[in-house]
Protein backbone atom coordinates (compact mmCIF):
# COMPACT_ATOMS: atom_id res chain seq x y z
CA UNK A 1 0.00 0.00 0.00
CA UNK A 2 1.35 3.38 -0.97
CA UNK A 3 2.39 5.36 2.06
CA UNK A 4 3.04 8.89 0.88
CA UNK A 5 4.73 11.58 2.94
CA UNK A 6 2.00 13.90 4.15
CA UNK A 7 1.88 17.04 2.04
CA UNK A 8 0.28 20.34 2.89
CA UNK A 9 -1.06 23.05 0.65
CA UNK A 10 1.22 26.12 0.98
CA UNK A 11 -1.67 28.57 1.08
CA UNK A 12 -4.44 26.89 3.04
CA UNK A 13 -2.06 24.67 5.04
CA UNK A 14 -4.59 21.88 4.66
CA UNK A 15 -3.42 18.34 4.08
CA UNK A 16 -3.27 17.48 0.38
CA UNK A 17 -5.77 14.66 -0.22
CA UNK A 18 -4.53 11.36 -1.64
CA UNK A 19 -7.28 10.19 -3.96
CA UNK A 20 -8.02 6.50 -4.22
CA UNK A 21 -10.86 4.24 -5.21
CA UNK A 22 -12.10 0.91 -3.90
CA UNK A 23 -14.31 -1.33 -6.03
CA UNK A 24 -16.20 -4.16 -4.38
CA UNK A 25 -16.26 -6.96 -6.95
CA UNK A 26 -18.73 -8.96 -4.87
CA UNK A 27 -21.23 -6.13 -5.32
CA UNK A 28 -20.59 -5.36 -9.00
CA UNK A 29 -23.34 -6.75 -11.21
CA UNK A 30 -21.69 -5.74 -14.47
CA UNK A 31 -24.53 -3.42 -15.43
CA UNK A 32 -22.15 -0.93 -17.08
CA UNK A 33 -23.94 2.14 -15.69
CA UNK A 34 -20.45 3.42 -14.82
CA UNK A 35 -19.38 3.08 -18.45
CA UNK A 36 -22.31 5.16 -19.66
CA UNK A 37 -21.97 7.76 -16.89
CA UNK A 38 -18.27 8.14 -17.60
CA UNK A 39 -18.74 8.62 -21.33
CA UNK A 40 -21.34 11.33 -20.83
CA UNK A 41 -19.51 13.09 -17.99
CA UNK A 42 -16.14 13.15 -19.71
CA UNK A 43 -17.14 13.83 -23.33
CA UNK A 44 -15.78 10.47 -24.42
CA UNK A 45 -16.67 10.20 -28.11
CA UNK A 46 -18.32 7.24 -29.76
CA UNK A 47 -15.99 5.56 -32.24
CA UNK A 48 -18.40 4.24 -34.83
CA UNK A 49 -18.57 0.71 -36.16
CA UNK A 50 -15.55 0.79 -38.44
CA UNK A 51 -13.17 2.36 -35.93
CA UNK A 52 -14.41 0.15 -33.10
CA UNK A 53 -13.67 -2.90 -35.26
CA UNK A 54 -10.09 -1.67 -35.47
CA UNK A 55 -9.90 -1.55 -31.68
CA UNK A 56 -10.12 2.21 -31.53
CA UNK A 57 -13.20 2.53 -29.33
CA UNK A 58 -12.62 4.67 -26.27
CA UNK A 59 -13.88 3.72 -22.85
CA UNK A 60 -12.25 5.41 -19.88
CA UNK A 61 -13.82 2.63 -17.82
CA UNK A 62 -14.73 -0.82 -19.08
CA UNK A 63 -16.17 -3.90 -17.41
CA UNK A 64 -14.08 -7.03 -17.89
CA UNK A 65 -15.85 -10.40 -17.70
CA UNK A 66 -14.39 -13.59 -16.28
CA UNK A 67 -16.08 -16.97 -16.46
CA UNK A 68 -15.49 -19.37 -13.63
CA UNK A 69 -16.36 -23.07 -13.77
CA UNK A 70 -17.84 -25.21 -16.54
CA UNK A 71 -21.38 -25.15 -17.87
CA UNK A 72 -23.88 -25.57 -16.20
CA UNK A 73 -22.05 -24.60 -13.01
CA UNK A 74 -20.73 -21.42 -14.52
CA UNK A 75 -20.32 -18.14 -12.77
CA UNK A 76 -19.52 -14.74 -14.29
CA UNK A 77 -17.38 -12.27 -12.44
CA UNK A 78 -17.14 -8.65 -13.44
CA UNK A 79 -14.30 -6.25 -12.94
CA UNK A 80 -14.60 -2.55 -13.84
CA UNK A 81 -11.20 -1.41 -15.11
CA UNK A 82 -10.28 2.24 -15.27
CA UNK A 83 -6.98 4.12 -15.09
CA UNK A 84 -5.37 2.73 -11.95
CA UNK A 85 -3.67 6.08 -11.18
CA UNK A 86 -0.47 4.17 -10.35
CA UNK A 87 1.99 5.64 -7.90
CA UNK A 88 4.71 4.13 -10.04
CA UNK A 89 3.07 4.54 -13.41
CA UNK A 90 4.58 2.86 -16.47
CA UNK A 91 2.97 5.49 -18.72
CA UNK A 92 4.83 8.43 -17.19
CA UNK A 93 8.56 7.86 -17.79
CA UNK A 94 8.03 6.97 -21.45
CA UNK A 95 6.43 10.29 -22.36
CA UNK A 96 9.08 12.34 -24.18
CA UNK A 97 7.31 15.66 -23.58
CA UNK A 98 6.26 15.27 -19.93
CA UNK A 99 2.60 15.42 -20.88
CA UNK A 100 1.75 12.89 -18.20
CA UNK A 101 2.91 13.02 -14.61
CA UNK A 102 1.67 12.29 -11.10
CA UNK A 103 0.53 15.32 -9.15
CA UNK A 104 0.63 15.92 -5.40
CA UNK A 105 -2.82 14.38 -4.95
CA UNK A 106 -1.73 11.13 -6.57
CA UNK A 107 -3.55 11.63 -9.85
CA UNK A 108 -1.86 10.65 -13.08
CA UNK A 109 -2.48 13.79 -15.08
CA UNK A 110 -2.71 13.88 -18.85
CA UNK A 111 -2.06 17.37 -20.24
CA UNK A 112 -3.80 17.38 -23.61
CA UNK A 113 -2.20 20.47 -25.05
CA UNK A 114 1.27 19.25 -24.19
CA UNK A 115 0.75 15.79 -25.72
CA UNK A 116 2.29 15.30 -29.17
CA UNK A 117 0.72 11.90 -29.76
CA UNK A 118 3.61 9.45 -29.62
CA UNK A 119 1.29 6.83 -28.03
CA UNK A 120 4.19 5.46 -25.97
CA UNK A 121 2.04 5.84 -22.84
CA UNK A 122 -0.75 3.71 -24.26
CA UNK A 123 1.75 1.11 -25.41
CA UNK A 124 3.34 0.93 -21.98
CA UNK A 125 0.15 0.78 -19.92
CA UNK A 126 -0.36 -2.78 -18.63
CA UNK A 127 -4.06 -2.07 -17.98
CA UNK A 128 -4.76 -0.77 -21.52
CA UNK A 129 -6.73 2.18 -20.18
CA UNK A 130 -5.09 4.88 -22.29
CA UNK A 131 -6.63 5.88 -25.59
CA UNK A 132 -5.47 7.80 -28.59
CA UNK A 133 -7.59 10.19 -30.62
CA UNK A 134 -6.93 9.12 -34.18
CA UNK A 135 -9.32 11.77 -35.47
CA UNK A 136 -11.04 14.89 -34.26
CA UNK A 137 -13.88 13.42 -32.20
CA UNK A 138 -17.41 13.40 -33.54
CA UNK A 139 -20.65 12.50 -31.86
CA UNK A 140 -23.70 10.94 -33.42
CA UNK A 141 -26.51 13.48 -33.27
CA UNK A 142 -27.84 14.58 -30.84
CA UNK A 143 -25.07 13.47 -28.44
CA UNK A 144 -22.91 16.41 -29.54
CA UNK A 145 -25.40 18.75 -27.89
CA UNK A 146 -24.88 17.37 -24.40
CA UNK A 147 -21.14 17.85 -23.96
CA UNK A 148 -19.98 18.66 -20.46
CA UNK A 149 -18.61 22.22 -20.45
CA UNK A 150 -16.41 21.42 -17.44
CA UNK A 151 -14.32 18.97 -19.46
CA UNK A 152 -12.15 19.78 -22.47
CA UNK A 153 -13.04 18.09 -25.72
CA UNK A 154 -9.79 16.44 -26.72
CA UNK A 155 -8.59 17.22 -30.22
CA UNK A 156 -7.28 14.62 -32.65
CA UNK A 157 -3.71 13.46 -32.09
CA UNK A 158 -3.61 13.37 -28.30
CA UNK A 159 -3.85 10.60 -25.72
CA UNK A 160 -6.52 10.57 -23.05
CA UNK A 161 -7.60 8.49 -20.08
CA UNK A 162 -9.64 8.47 -16.89
CA UNK A 163 -8.89 11.50 -14.71
CA UNK A 164 -10.75 10.31 -11.57
CA UNK A 165 -13.17 13.06 -12.72
CA UNK A 166 -10.70 15.86 -12.03
CA UNK A 167 -13.42 18.39 -12.86
CA UNK A 168 -15.59 17.05 -10.04
CA UNK A 169 -12.64 17.15 -7.63
CA UNK A 170 -12.06 20.75 -8.67
CA UNK A 171 -15.73 21.64 -8.29
CA UNK A 172 -15.94 20.06 -4.84
CA UNK A 173 -12.87 21.99 -3.72
CA UNK A 174 -14.28 25.28 -5.02
CA UNK A 175 -17.63 24.61 -3.36
CA UNK A 176 -15.87 23.87 -0.06
CA UNK A 177 -13.79 27.06 -0.37
CA UNK A 178 -16.93 29.05 -1.15
CA UNK A 179 -18.58 27.70 2.00
CA UNK A 180 -15.33 28.19 3.97
CA UNK A 181 -15.05 24.60 5.11
CA UNK A 182 -12.68 21.73 4.54
CA UNK A 183 -13.38 19.05 1.99
CA UNK A 184 -15.36 16.29 3.67
CA UNK A 185 -15.31 12.56 2.89
CA UNK A 186 -17.82 11.86 0.13
CA UNK A 187 -17.78 15.39 -1.30
CA UNK A 188 -16.03 14.12 -4.40
CA UNK A 189 -17.91 11.51 -6.37
CA UNK A 190 -16.61 10.59 -9.81
CA UNK A 191 -19.30 9.86 -12.38
CA UNK A 192 -18.78 6.09 -12.19
CA UNK A 193 -19.05 6.07 -8.40
CA UNK A 194 -22.14 8.25 -8.27
CA UNK A 195 -23.89 6.17 -10.94
CA UNK A 196 -23.21 2.74 -9.44
CA UNK A 197 -26.60 1.30 -8.41
CA UNK A 198 -24.97 -1.46 -6.33
CA UNK A 199 -22.75 1.07 -4.54
CA UNK A 200 -19.82 -1.13 -5.40
CA UNK A 201 -17.44 1.80 -5.79
CA UNK A 202 -16.07 4.08 -3.10
CA UNK A 203 -13.92 7.12 -3.76
CA UNK A 204 -12.07 9.31 -1.33
CA UNK A 205 -8.90 10.38 0.40
CA UNK A 206 -6.82 7.40 1.47
CA UNK A 207 -4.57 9.73 3.46
CA UNK A 208 -7.46 10.19 5.87
CA UNK A 209 -7.70 7.05 8.01
CA UNK A 210 -11.39 7.65 8.75
CA UNK A 211 -12.53 7.92 5.14
CA UNK A 212 -14.73 5.21 3.66
CA UNK A 213 -12.12 4.34 1.07
CA UNK A 214 -9.38 3.91 3.69
CA UNK A 215 -11.59 1.55 5.64
CA UNK A 216 -12.39 -0.40 2.48
CA UNK A 217 -8.68 -0.69 1.63
CA UNK A 218 -7.91 -1.85 5.17
CA UNK A 219 -10.81 -4.35 5.18
CA UNK A 220 -8.57 -7.34 4.44
CA UNK A 221 -10.42 -8.11 1.20
CA UNK A 222 -8.56 -5.61 -0.93
CA UNK A 223 -6.04 -6.23 -3.66
CA UNK A 224 -4.63 -4.46 -6.67
CA UNK A 225 -4.78 -5.35 -10.32
CA UNK A 226 -1.50 -6.88 -11.58
CA UNK A 227 0.06 -5.91 -8.25
CA UNK A 228 3.17 -7.97 -9.01
CA UNK A 229 4.16 -5.47 -11.69
CA UNK A 230 4.97 -2.99 -8.95
CA UNK A 231 2.88 -0.19 -10.43
CA UNK A 232 1.28 0.52 -7.03
CA UNK A 233 -2.23 1.34 -8.28
CA UNK A 234 -4.60 3.68 -6.45
CA UNK A 235 -7.58 1.55 -7.41
CA UNK A 236 -8.23 -1.28 -5.00
CA UNK A 237 -10.45 -4.27 -5.73
CA UNK A 238 -12.32 -5.89 -2.86
CA UNK A 239 -13.27 -9.52 -3.19
CA UNK A 240 -13.92 -12.49 -1.00
CA UNK A 241 -10.66 -14.19 -0.08
CA UNK A 242 -10.49 -17.72 -1.49
Amino acid sequence: MAEQAEQRDPRSEQRVPQWAMAIDLDRCTGCEACVVACASENNVPTAGEEEAARGRAKHWIRVDRYYEGEFPDIRVKFRPVLCQQCDSAPCEPVCPVYATYQNAEGLNVQVYNRCIGTRYCAANCPYTVRFFNWFTPEWAEPLGLQLNPDVSVRPGGVAEKCTFCAQRIKRAKLDAAEEERELADGDVQPACVSSCPAEAMVFGDMGDGDSKVSKAIASGRSGQLLADLGTRPRVFYLEKAD
Binding site: R11, A104, V151, P155, K170
Partner: protein
Protein backbone atom coordinates in the same frame (compact mmCIF):
# COMPACT_ATOMS: atom_id res chain seq x y z
CA UNK B 1 -19.50 65.36 -26.53
CA UNK B 2 -19.85 62.75 -29.22
CA UNK B 3 -16.56 63.72 -30.85
CA UNK B 4 -14.79 63.37 -27.50
CA UNK B 5 -16.11 59.83 -27.26
CA UNK B 6 -15.05 58.89 -30.76
CA UNK B 7 -11.49 60.25 -30.79
CA UNK B 8 -9.82 57.62 -28.60
CA UNK B 9 -11.63 54.98 -30.62
CA UNK B 10 -9.87 56.14 -33.78
CA UNK B 11 -6.51 56.11 -32.05
CA UNK B 12 -6.78 52.40 -31.19
CA UNK B 13 -4.98 49.85 -33.32
CA UNK B 14 -7.60 48.33 -35.55
CA UNK B 15 -6.73 44.67 -34.95
CA UNK B 16 -7.33 44.91 -31.20
CA UNK B 17 -10.76 46.49 -31.27
CA UNK B 18 -13.37 43.98 -32.36
CA UNK B 19 -16.07 45.27 -34.67
CA UNK B 20 -19.09 45.41 -32.39
CA UNK B 21 -22.69 45.66 -33.61
CA UNK B 22 -23.32 48.71 -31.42
CA UNK B 23 -21.05 51.52 -30.28
CA UNK B 24 -21.20 50.47 -26.65
CA UNK B 25 -18.93 52.48 -24.37
CA UNK B 26 -17.66 50.85 -21.19
CA UNK B 27 -16.36 54.20 -20.00
CA UNK B 28 -19.77 55.86 -20.19
CA UNK B 29 -21.18 53.15 -17.95
CA UNK B 30 -18.32 52.81 -15.47
CA UNK B 31 -17.03 56.36 -15.14
CA UNK B 32 -20.09 58.44 -15.90
CA UNK B 33 -22.92 56.21 -14.73
CA UNK B 34 -20.77 54.89 -11.86
CA UNK B 35 -21.67 51.27 -12.47
CA UNK B 36 -19.65 48.21 -11.45
CA UNK B 37 -18.38 45.47 -13.78
CA UNK B 38 -20.55 42.87 -12.01
CA UNK B 39 -23.72 44.88 -12.55
CA UNK B 40 -23.77 43.52 -16.10
CA UNK B 41 -21.20 40.69 -16.03
CA UNK B 42 -23.05 39.07 -13.15
CA UNK B 43 -21.14 35.79 -13.11
CA UNK B 44 -17.74 37.44 -12.63
CA UNK B 45 -17.67 37.01 -8.86
CA UNK B 46 -19.94 34.07 -8.26
CA UNK B 47 -19.79 31.73 -11.22
CA UNK B 48 -17.46 30.16 -13.76
CA UNK B 49 -18.32 32.47 -16.62
CA UNK B 50 -18.63 36.24 -16.23
CA UNK B 51 -21.13 36.38 -19.08
CA UNK B 52 -22.14 38.94 -21.66
CA UNK B 53 -25.45 40.45 -20.54
CA UNK B 54 -28.68 39.83 -22.40
CA UNK B 55 -30.54 42.70 -24.06
CA UNK B 56 -33.08 42.49 -21.23
CA UNK B 57 -30.44 43.84 -18.90
CA UNK B 58 -29.64 46.74 -21.26
CA UNK B 59 -33.31 47.59 -21.55
CA UNK B 60 -33.88 47.57 -17.80
CA UNK B 61 -32.23 50.98 -17.85
CA UNK B 62 -32.43 52.06 -21.46
CA UNK B 63 -36.21 51.90 -21.66
CA UNK B 64 -36.02 55.04 -19.56
CA UNK B 65 -32.47 56.40 -19.68
CA UNK B 66 -30.79 58.17 -22.61
CA UNK B 67 -33.42 56.86 -25.00
CA UNK B 68 -32.60 59.51 -27.60
CA UNK B 69 -28.92 58.65 -28.06
CA UNK B 70 -28.40 57.18 -31.55
CA UNK B 71 -26.76 53.99 -30.26
CA UNK B 72 -29.58 53.47 -27.76
CA UNK B 73 -32.08 53.98 -30.58
CA UNK B 74 -30.28 51.20 -32.49
CA UNK B 75 -30.34 49.06 -29.34
CA UNK B 76 -34.09 49.63 -29.02
CA UNK B 77 -34.52 48.39 -32.58
CA UNK B 78 -32.94 45.06 -31.61
CA UNK B 79 -35.28 44.98 -28.59
CA UNK B 80 -38.37 45.68 -30.68
CA UNK B 81 -37.41 42.89 -33.10
CA UNK B 82 -36.88 40.65 -30.04
CA UNK B 83 -33.30 39.99 -31.07
CA UNK B 84 -30.23 39.75 -28.88
CA UNK B 85 -27.37 42.07 -29.71
CA UNK B 86 -24.75 39.93 -31.49
CA UNK B 87 -21.84 41.10 -29.35
CA UNK B 88 -18.39 39.96 -30.41
CA UNK B 89 -16.48 38.25 -27.63
CA UNK B 90 -13.13 39.90 -26.89
CA UNK B 91 -11.58 37.50 -24.36
CA UNK B 92 -11.64 33.74 -24.13
CA UNK B 93 -9.37 30.75 -24.46
CA UNK B 94 -9.04 28.78 -27.64
CA UNK B 95 -10.48 25.30 -27.53
CA UNK B 96 -7.04 23.84 -28.28
CA UNK B 97 -5.69 25.43 -25.10
CA UNK B 98 -7.83 22.95 -23.09
CA UNK B 99 -8.10 25.53 -20.31
CA UNK B 100 -10.88 25.34 -17.75
CA UNK B 101 -11.05 28.84 -16.31
CA UNK B 102 -13.35 29.76 -13.42
CA UNK B 103 -13.99 33.39 -12.51
CA UNK B 104 -15.37 32.86 -8.99
CA UNK B 105 -12.22 31.61 -7.21
CA UNK B 106 -10.20 34.45 -8.71
CA UNK B 107 -12.68 37.03 -7.47
CA UNK B 108 -12.71 35.33 -4.08
CA UNK B 109 -8.92 35.61 -3.95
CA UNK B 110 -9.29 39.36 -4.42
CA UNK B 111 -7.91 39.55 -7.96
CA UNK B 112 -9.21 42.73 -9.57
CA UNK B 113 -10.92 42.52 -12.97
CA UNK B 114 -8.31 44.90 -14.37
CA UNK B 115 -5.51 42.43 -13.62
CA UNK B 116 -6.59 40.29 -16.57
CA UNK B 117 -8.81 42.67 -18.54
CA UNK B 118 -6.99 46.00 -18.35
CA UNK B 119 -8.70 49.24 -17.44
CA UNK B 120 -11.94 48.51 -19.26
CA UNK B 121 -13.61 51.36 -17.41
CA UNK B 122 -11.57 53.82 -19.44
CA UNK B 123 -12.30 52.18 -22.79
CA UNK B 124 -14.92 53.31 -25.20
CA UNK B 125 -14.73 49.99 -27.03
CA UNK B 126 -13.61 46.84 -25.22
CA UNK B 127 -10.20 45.87 -26.54
CA UNK B 128 -8.01 42.95 -25.63
CA UNK B 129 -5.64 45.00 -23.47
CA UNK B 130 -4.04 42.01 -21.74
CA UNK B 131 -2.86 39.02 -23.70
CA UNK B 132 -3.71 35.87 -21.79
CA UNK B 133 -0.64 33.67 -21.88
CA UNK B 134 0.20 30.68 -19.74
CA UNK B 135 3.30 32.52 -18.48
CA UNK B 136 1.08 35.29 -17.14
CA UNK B 137 -1.26 32.84 -15.42
CA UNK B 138 1.56 30.80 -13.89
CA UNK B 139 3.57 33.76 -12.58
CA UNK B 140 0.47 35.24 -10.92
CA UNK B 141 -0.42 31.83 -9.47
CA UNK B 142 3.09 31.54 -8.01
CA UNK B 143 3.04 35.07 -6.57
CA UNK B 144 -0.21 34.25 -4.81
CA UNK B 145 0.78 30.72 -3.79
CA UNK B 146 -2.02 29.32 -5.89
CA UNK B 147 -1.52 25.91 -7.44
CA UNK B 148 0.91 25.67 -10.36
CA UNK B 149 -0.06 22.08 -11.06
CA UNK B 150 -1.02 21.58 -14.73
CA UNK B 151 -4.28 20.03 -13.52
CA UNK B 152 -5.25 23.29 -11.82
CA UNK B 153 -6.35 24.60 -15.24
CA UNK B 154 -5.93 21.89 -17.89
CA UNK B 155 -8.41 19.02 -17.70
Amino acid sequence: MRRALLLPLLALPAQLAAEQPLGFSHRAHIERANMQCVDCHTGAVSRDVAGIPSIRKCMLCHQFIATDLPEVVRLTKYWEKKHEVPWVRVYGFKRQAAVQFRHAPHARAGIQCSKCHGDVGAMTVAVKAVNHTMGGCVSCHRENQASDDCLACHF
